[in-house]
Symmetry: C2
Subunit: 105 residues, 2 copies
């Protein structure tokens, strides 16, 4: 009855993989698998939803609008309020990076 | 700016450790660290909130009211609708088991 989100990682070498794990009114849980992808330099996420994000494995860097960079490894979590502009500055090209994102209103 | 939920695991050898990671209207994210604890045989969780639970590390078993047992290892996730009665049947006494629980209305 349990599903596993670390087994059967979709192949992220070509493009990032987004898998919806739960969708309820005002709540959405998503798995993202990255392998070296990052946001283009001037491409910012500016979301209507709040996001709590946890790195499950791998390594990544988020950049905020003030230029600060947040390095993430397994177990690190960050809260991004709605409209806190951010971009994925870097993800490790040598391994799959798995994010868990909880979006809510 | 990121916090890590796998570093500095609280000592769960005496009692299970509950740490609130996020609390918003209708949403609560909690880390639970277990080390061998389980629910007493006739002690069932019967919650008003829906719960999406992910095992981050370790090993555990949930039991449902029909007697079925769900074995969980790292990456396994289960959705427990409100009032789906369940108990923690077993957690590994040899290692810390870390749960991520997302409760919502």
């Amino acid at each position: 009855m349990a599903e596993n989100l670390l087994a059967d990682l979709s192949d992220a070498r070509q493009t990032e993989q987004f898998t919806q794990l739960l969708q309820r009114p005002g709540l959405r849980i998503e798995r993202i698998v990255s392998r070296g992808q990052c946001s283009p330099p001037d491409d910012w996420y500016d979301q209507n939803e709040h996001e709590w994000v946890l790195l499950l494995q791998g390594a990544a860097e988020l950049m905020l609008a003030d230029g600060s960079v947040i390095r993430l490894t397994a177990g690190d979590h960050v809260y991004l309020p709605a409209h806190e502009k951010h971009r994925v500055h870097w993800t490790d090209p040598q391994q799959d990076t798995v994010w868990l994102a909880v979006f809510h209103h």
